[in-house]
Each structure stands twice: as structure tokens, then as C-alpha cells.
């Protein structure tokens, strides 16, 4: 099926190259992009596109498990290990195994840790670079390679259960949400030795489908949910408990989707006022209200607003000094950066846009505004993890539960 496998840098330099078959009969290229690297496979005409993409994605996950976070540098440093892995995964162009436990016994090279390029101390940084200052701070050890060669015990037994949600929202000009979509998943990252049984209890009022009723009150409702094949669901109906015996490494236990019917209010509302001076100047008054609960906050909020083509300069009045705004001439876009926004607060900004030249700028060109942000310790669906219990392991290894919602696409029409 596969003829060659490459890992290329963002500039296209060849970092890893493996010929899988003797004759190169593959004329078709498939690639996925991760962490700025291209993972490429060439294949014959009969290949299945789903299998190709899935294999490449799996390759990325495995490399991350074995080598730690991926970058041009770490791929270069772990060059021998990656060749060994590919050698065991693919023979003669056919996938032999991608199971982390099996590979762990076959692969003997040691990972070389590389320090990621960052000026910040990684201790306080969680997923996606979000700063999490809550009680459930995740230690930086989540970034180290999970799979060490046999014989070397990892320094600490730890388990991370992450509830990750991606939010896709379109809000109409009158403030009515037109589309609200939450794509969520529960991801487990385990450093424990294999064979430990784990019980993960979810919110008891968790319902699947439109009709199911559980508990009193609104509950947590998702439209659709699917589980990894290793998850045993015998206690799911009664107690909403996922039973799993994870192997070391990262695995997505559950994926779920909610559309249109999200219990909590949307995190942001925008109230714009646009005035047009006779001189052709546009006055843009933006009020951004954060409707999160008061204890939560949003980080790295960035609002982007396309402005009419002729706009040359921008004058701004922002509600606090830590905010910043600028006009990006290349994309004729206004961006307003808010590093941190507390739930329940309201921010405002006044922009004056200079539009020289004859004719009035068309207001049709203004908008729609897009927001990007991260909500640490927050799940929009309301799904929570009640407990994580371990069986068959001495002591109580640390268990970390982290929540993170981030905006996939948050569009506010003007």
C-alpha cells in the first residue's frame, strides 16, 4: 500500500525518508500537517484515502508518545528511534502494527529529549499554551515522552484526563445564535504501567440523544457520542462510568458532539455601534460582554474584524492598558487583543477609521467579527469528570483532570 514515507520540515527539507517497497509504484501523495511538519506517504492507485490519512495521523500520535512534543529539532534528534519505529510499523509497504504496547517491546532506541523553544517557564503552561492557574494545574511532565524503553521506569506514575471541547459558533446580527456546535473529547494520557484498570465517572445527568432523560433539571445532553474500542461500557448505563485498562500513551476515550442545544450561555456577546462621519471617517464602538460564570475567565482573546478596503489609519481608545489593537494592512483587518477577560465583565473599545478618497466606504465590507479564545477549566457542554479511580496499582498515583474549551470558529455578524 505505502511506497515511501517522509517527514518534511515546514520548509520542505527532508528529515526522514523511508522506502517501503523495492519498486516505487506509488504515484499518489498523501500528507498531513502537524506541529509545522509534513508527514507524507506515497501510495499506489488502489490505496484507500481514509486509511492513508488515518495511518499518518496515527504515526504522528505514536511519534509524540515515543519522542515527546514534535518539532524539527526533536525529529532530528530522535532520528534513529524514528527509523526503528517505522521499521517495525511498516514492512514492504504494509502496516504491521501501530499498537503502542507491541511497539514498545520491539523498539529499543532511547528517546532524546529536546528542550522546546520557549522563553517562558513551561511549568505554568497547560494545553495549547493556556495558562491555568486553577487548583488543577497540570505539571509540565505531561509533555515528556510517554513510552520509555523497557527496563527504564518513568520517574512518576501519573494520569491525565483531559476534557477538550472545540466551539463553533455563528451569531446573527441581531444577537441570535444561528449555529452552536461543540465537538468534545475525553483524552487520557497515562504514564502508568499497563494493566491498571481505571474507572472514570462522568456527570451523572449525562444524556445521549434528544429523548433520554436522566436526573432532574436540564442535565448534560449530547447528540451523539462514540467510544474508543478499549472502553468497557458495562457500568455506563447505570452510573455513567467508563471502565478502561489503558496502555501507556495517549488515547481518545470518547468523542461527542452537541449542536444547537448547549445549556450554558455563549461565552461572548458583541454589541457594535457604527457611525459614519460626513468626512468619511468611521466610528466603531465595540462592546464585548463575557457571559462566563464570574469565577471563570477567558484567555488570549483576539477579536478580528475585516474593515473596508480603503482604510488607512486607526485611532483607538481601549478600556484597559493591557489590551492592544492594530490594523493589519495585509489582510485589511482590525485586531483587538485581550490577554485575559474575567467572566461577567464587559470590555469596550472605540475605533476611528480613516477612509480617504471619494465615495463613502461600504458598510457591507465591515465584518463579520471573529473571536478566538481559550477557556481553561470550562466545558461548554457542562460535562464533568466526577472521579478517576485506579485499581491494581500500589499507592495513589496523581490523577489530573483538566478542562479546556477553545474556539474553533466563533463568528459574530454585524
Amino acid at each position: 500500500m505505502l511506497s515511501q514515507i517522509f517527514i518534511l520540515s515546514s520548509k520542505g527539507d527532508r528529515l526522514i525518508h523511508k522506502d517501503c517497497t523495492l519498486a516505487r509504484d506509488g504515484r499518489h501523495f498523501a500528507h498531513v500537517r502537524h506541529s509545522g511538519l509534513y508527514f507524507v506517504a506515497t501510495a499506489a492507485t488502489t490505496a484507500s484515502p481514509f486509511a492513508l490519512v488515518e495511518f499518518l495521523n496515527r504515526l504522528v500520535t505514536l511519534l509524540r508518545d515515543f519522542c515527546g512534543p514534535l518539532s524539527e529539532k526533536s525529529v532530528g534528534a530522535n532520528f534513529g528511534l524514528i527509523y526503528e519505529l517505522l521499521e517495525e510499523m511498516v514492512d514492504h509497504g504494509y502496516v504491521q502494527t501501530t499498537s503502542p504496547e507491541v511497539l514498545r517491546n520491539l523498539v529499543h532506541a532511547e528517546p532524546v529529549a529536546t528542550k522546546p523553544f520557549s522563553l517562558l517557564d513551561l511549568g505554568s503552561i497547560g494545553l495549547f499554551g493556556a495558562e491555568t492557574q486553577q487548583s488543577k494545574v497540570a505539571p509540565s511532565s505531561a509533555d515528556r515522552p510517554v513510552l520509555l524503553p523497557p527496563g527504564e521506569q518513568p520517574p512518576r506514575n501519573e494520569v491525565f484526563v483531559d476534557v477538550l471541547e472545540r466551539l463553533t459558533v455563528v451569531v446573527a446580527a441581531n444577537g441570535v445564535p444561528m449555529k452552536v456546535d461543540v465537538q468534545g473529547e475525553i483524552r487520557l494520557k497515562s504514564y502508568l504501567p499497563a494493566g491498571v484498570e481505571m474507572l472514570i465517572g462522568l456527570t451523572e445527568e449525562f444524556c445521549v440523544g434528544k429523548s433520554e432523560l436522566r436526573g432532574y433539571g436540564p442535565g448534560v445532553r449530547v447528540d451523539d457520542c462514540s467510544f474508543h474500542s478499549s472502553v468497557k461500557l458495562d457500568q455506563f448505563e447505570t452510573g455513567r462510568i467508563l471502565r478502561v485498562t489503558p496502555s501507556q500513551g495517549e488515547v481518545t476515550l470518547m468523542q461527542y458532539q452537541v449542536a444547537d442545544d448547549v445549556p450554558s450561555p455563549l461565552p461572548f456577546r458583541l454589541f457594535p455601534t457604527v457611525e459614519q462621519d460626513p468626512g468619511g471617517r468611521l466610528r466603531l464602538y465595540l462592546k464585548l460582554r463575557c457571559d462566563l460564570p464570574p469565577k471563570s475567565q477567558a484567555l488570549n482573546v483576539r477579536l478580528q474584524l475585516p474593515v473596508p478596503k480603503g482604510v488607512t489609519s486607526l485611532a483607538q481608545e481601549l478600556s484597559s492598558p493591557e489590551q492592544a489593537a492594530e490594523l493589519q494592512p495585509g489582510s485589511r483587518c482590525l485586531s483587538w487583543d485581550i490577554p485575559r477577560c474575567q467572566g461577567g465583565s464587559q470590555l469596550s473599545a472605540l475605533f476611528k477609521l480613516e477612509v480617504p478618497g471619494p465615495g463613502r466606504p461600504s458598510l457591507l465590507e465591515l465584518g463579520p467579527a471573529t473571536l478566538s479564545f481559550e477557556l481553561p477549566s470550562h466545558s461548554c457542554s457542562g460535562l464533568g469528570v466526577r472521579f478517576v479511580r485506579l485499581r491494581g496499582v500500589p499507592g495513589t498515583p496523581p490523577r489530573w483532570v483538566r478542562y479546556l474549551t477553545h474556539s474553533d470558529s466563533y463568528v459574530l455578524r454585524l
Binding site: 527532508r14 498531513v32 484507500s48 484515502p49 488515518e54 504494509y94 458532539q257 465590507e365
Partner: protein, 745 residues
Amino acid sequence: MPYLGGEEAVRELRRALANPHVQADRLRYRAAVLRVIRLMAQGADVSGLFPEMVKASAGADVVQKKLVSLFVRAQAPRQPQLALLAVNTLRKDCAHPSPAVRGLALRSMCGLRVPGIQEYLQQPLLSGLRDRASYVRRAAVLGCAKMVKLQGDCEVDGALVNELYSLLRDQDPIVVVNCLRALEEILKKEGGVVINKPIAHHLLNRMADLDQWGQSEVLTFLLRYRPRSEEELFDILNLLDGCLKSSSPSVVMAATKLFLVLARDYPHVQADVLVRVKGPLLSACTSESRELCFTALCHVRQILGSLPGHFSSHYKKFFCSYSEPHYIKCQKMEVLCELVNDENVQQVLEELKSYCTDVSVELAQGAIFAIGNIARTYTDQCVGILTELLGLQQEHITSAVVQAFRDLAWLCPQCTDAVCRALPGCEDAIQDSEGKQALIWLLGTHGEKVPNAPYVLEDFVENVKMEMFPAVKMELLTALVRLFLARPAECQDMLGRLLYYCIEEEMDMAVRDRGLFYYRLLQSGVEEVKRVLCSPKSDPSLGLLEDQTERPVNTWASEFNTLAPVYGRERWALVTAHQTAEPSYACSSHTDSRSKDTGIMPHLHLESLISKEVLEVHPDTSSLTLIPDVYLTAEQFQKTWLSLDTSCHLSLPWCGTVHPDAIQTALQVVHIQTIAMSKAGVQPWKAYLSAQDDTGCLFLTELLLEAADSEMQVSVKQSEAKPEALQTFISVLRTVMGTVAGLGS
């Protein structure tokens, strides 16, 4: 600075590898080997280190053995003599107590591209097939495939094939799948591995043991099994039901394909499967992996081709996110166009409208064309939106809107008035060639409805010297001659100036020739000009029939979960056609309906050729006289076509590609009207024709070409049963098609 991997570096490495102290230290030895591999990967010439590296593999370190094996396999073709050195060590390793080493040695040996290696391979492979460790058996099975490939054309060893077939019963699931893969390669010439009933059911029972890669491959192998009875078919489908629920998209899609293909005679089963795959496909469409998302979107479009309503209620899932890359957004817009219906049209248009002002020119224009596409069904709403966009006075937006208008005026004549009202003022904002051509075409063809049309064209004539694009000048010539026919007083003067410029000053030969052509044409009198230029101004039938006939699921079931939907029909045909495809043909797929009138000229000689031939071959066409100028609308055609039975079915030899313009022109000559025709390069290519004789008997014809280089299937229906006239009609058709086919190749 020394070069990477220069002499110096190689010499130093050789010293290190030969140093007994380094050899004694496991880690240092391995590091030296690793450095050699790194140099090799960077493209340096390290072939000189071959003996040292082979020696390094003799040690006990497995990691080192693997690295050396990589080196040996890469370097062996360059040094076949030395490679045989390595074989010795590897043969020894084949008897090593550790299965990991035995497997590795087998893999390495089979990977050596050295002549004469086969004789060393046979024995270790045969014992590998019977090894206790499944790891070794896996390597040995694939090793057999490699060995056969190395042998080239030699006779395949029957005993080996039997051995592999018997290993299909192995306990290890990966050995089973590897056997299938190896047999498939070894028996390639005989059509691959045979899946008979016992093998098929054995595989079905082992399904649960396989991992996702195995499952999806076995599902593909099962495609070639034909169940004997209905009962067996449904047993198989029941056994495989779990695969449709798998968490791996590749297994779900492979299972879907198998279901669709096996149940080819049970449309309700197919429909049921497509409903069940909806959930997995939709979640793949919203997956975090963009690449998976793209693949899924392509397959959604494939399904929509047969079941337009299938995803209509999920239309919101196909709204674009601003963070998505272009290729996803464009696919999603295509999907939105295809699933639009009465209920969601409002929301879909609202959404597409918001993309029209996007910062990216490509995306904005794509959205405008998408609205133009939807306008073929929901004309009024769309024309309203497009007209509103003109108010933005943005170059790229106006250009795209005018292009969309041109296509609409051609396909939906009822919106011509609205389009013409919107046109004034556009000329200031358009700068690009495509936009200008569209505007000029509209002004020329529908100039009588646009009051200031002559003045706009006059501006173009004034600036023709500065005009960069020859295509615009050609369009201007045609348009102005047309407008001259409608509004002579306002146009005569500038037409004279334009012709003068084109003939006397223009440097582009095509433009000059076109100018001369119109000049001579005008000399032959206005009536003659009218006869040539006043072709129909619209062709609503184009696309109608084609769009309405939903392609049955069976036409694409075998393409599902292959690369074909990802490439798209037309490009896939090109990709798979190897060298036979003409590269120039890729561009001609753009020449669709609107280039029709520019396409008349090359076919002028064709007309005379055909009429001559028809006359020569059929001196007595007296039994049949087809009358010209009988125009059937597409609706009339469709109604009549469906009400009649096929009178005659035949197939004509055909080779090469289809030139729709040539065929249409040729048919016109013998008074056969073309109702609708696929674009060039589309597969299957179809055309619908009609003709009427002097007694009022209708001949309706369908031409169908499934793939290039097959036979053209012709079905003729007749409104009255007249066998004699039918025979003559068919022979006329045969001659015309024969002539066109001869020209095409």
C-alpha cells in the same frame, strides 16, 4: 569548512568503527553507527564504510543491527559484491535464538536488491514460514512476496503459493493478513489472491481478531467475493455489521463500500447503509484533522450525487469556519450548493453571502460562483444577492458577479432582464480578463436591453490599444458585430474603427484573423451576418437533463473509499489514463457552453466535409428527409423520451476523447438537434439528440460513452414505428459519428 560527509568525515568514522575501544563500548559503537546513517540520510557518499558496517551488525546489539540493516539495504545496489558479505552475517542471524533478530535478518535479506540473492533466500524463508514465533512468520510471508518480485518474470513456485494459502489459517492475525497481501502480489498476473467461499468465511470469522488496518484491508479483499445466494449475502452483511460501528473511519468506509458493492441488487439495503454511515461521515467532516475532514467531504459529495437530499438537514455542519484552510472551505461550498433545498435555501444563501466579502479573493469569488450555481434553481433570491454585491464596487467581486450573470443569462433566460438592469456601472470596477469578457459578452448578446450598451463598448473600443488580453479583443469584436445587428445606428462608426484597428494595427494574429473574418462576413451582406451570428441567446436545456438524472449508487460504489472521489471525476480520469491522456485536454474542460460561438470557426471545414460524406454515402436519402429548424425544448424532450420505448439499440466504435463542439456542429449539418450534452472529458459522457422527418415522426437519441476508448452506446426512440426510416436515420447517425470519431483521434 569541510563538506558534509566529505572524505575527512568518512575517514574519521571508519577509524572510529574500527577502534576496538569503541567496539567494546556499546553506546559509543552505536553512536558511531548512527552518525553514518545520519550522513547517509543527508545524501553523503558513505559506501566506503560498507565492510565496517557489516562487521558492526555482527554484534549483539539489536538497535545496531537494525541501523546497519537500513544502511546495507540502501547501499547494496551500489556494491553487489560486498553485499554478499552481509548475506553471510544475516544467514547466521536467521538462526539466532531471539525472534526479533531472526525476523530482522529475514527482512534485511529480502530487502537487498542484488542479483543472485534469490538462491540464498529460499532456505531461510521456508524455515521462516514454519518458525515458532509469529513475528518471524510475518516477516517471512512478506519476504516471499519480495523474493518473487526480485525474480521478475520467472515462473511462480506452486509449492510456495500453496504454503501461503495454508498459512491463511495461521493463529496470528497479522500473518493471515500478510498472506493475503503476499499472495495478491505474487499472483498479480493471474488476477490476485482467490477468495473462494471457505476463505471468505474463514476471513469473516477472523475479523474480530484483526486490528483496524487488517480489517480495512480484508474488507477490501472481500470485495471480490460473490455470495452464492441471497441467504449467504445477508449472513455476510450481518457478520460485518460491527464494522460499520468501528471507531476507525477507514474500517467504516471500507465496510460501507463492501456493503454497497455486495448489495448492488438491493437498493433498500444500500440506502440503509448510507443512512448508517451518515453519522461517521459527518463526524469525520468536523474532525480536528483537516486532512480527514477533506477526505470525508469529498465522499459526502459523491453520495450527494446520487441522493441530493441525504445531508440536507445537516446543512449547518458544512458552514465554513474562518480558521479552516481554503481547500476545506471550497469543498464545503460545493457541498452546500449540492444539498440546497426549499427549506434551507435561505440560511445557506445567507451563509454564502457572508463569505463573499471575505478577505481572500479566491474564497470570495468561489462563494459568488456558488451563489451563481444555486441561482439556476432559486433564481430570484440569488440574482438579488448578486446585484446587491455589485454595490460594493470591489474589483474582484464585480468581476465574479458579472461572470456568474453571464452563465445565468445563458442557462436561465428568465433572469436576463434582471441581469441587464444590474449591469450599468459595472464596467468601471472590472479589470481582469475573465470579468471583461463576461461583461462584453452580455452587452453584445443582450445589448438591446441595456440602454447604454453601445457607450460602454465604445469605451472599450477607445482603449483597445491598451488592452492586454487578446481574448478580450476577440470577445469585443463578436459583441460589437452582434450589437451592430441590433442597434446599427449607434454602432456603425465604432465598429468601423475597431475593424480598422484589428486589421491594420493589431499584432495578435488570432485577433487580426477574427477581424478579417468579420470584415469579409459583413461584406457578404447583413442577412448573411445575421444567419451566422444570431444563434440562440440562451440554452436552458444545457445541464438540465444532466443535473436531474441522479447517478445511481452502483455507478460509483466501486469508487467509494478510493482516491477517485478525492481527485474528482475528471482529474481522476486523467490521472489513471497514464500516457494516453492528452495533456492539452485538461484545459479544454474549461471551454464550456459560453465558448460555443468562438468555437464555430474551426469547425467550418468540418461542415462541408460531413455534408459531402453523407451525400456520398447516401445518394438516396429520399426515404428520410429530416427537416431543419425544429426545436424541441428540454422538457418536451424529456416527456417524450420517458413515454417511448427504445426502438433500436446499437454501439458504435469510438476511440479517444469526445469533442462536443465538433459533434454538435456535425449533427446540425444533417439537421439533428442537440438537446443536451455533457462537457468534454466528463465520464460517462452523454448526449441527447432529437430530429424530425417531413412526416412528423420524431427520432430521439441518447449517446452514452462510459469511458474513453470504449464503445459509444446509442439508443434511439421513435414516435411512430417506421422501420425503414429508422434504418436510414441510424445509418446517417452512424456516418456522422464515424466522421467525427475519425477527426477526433
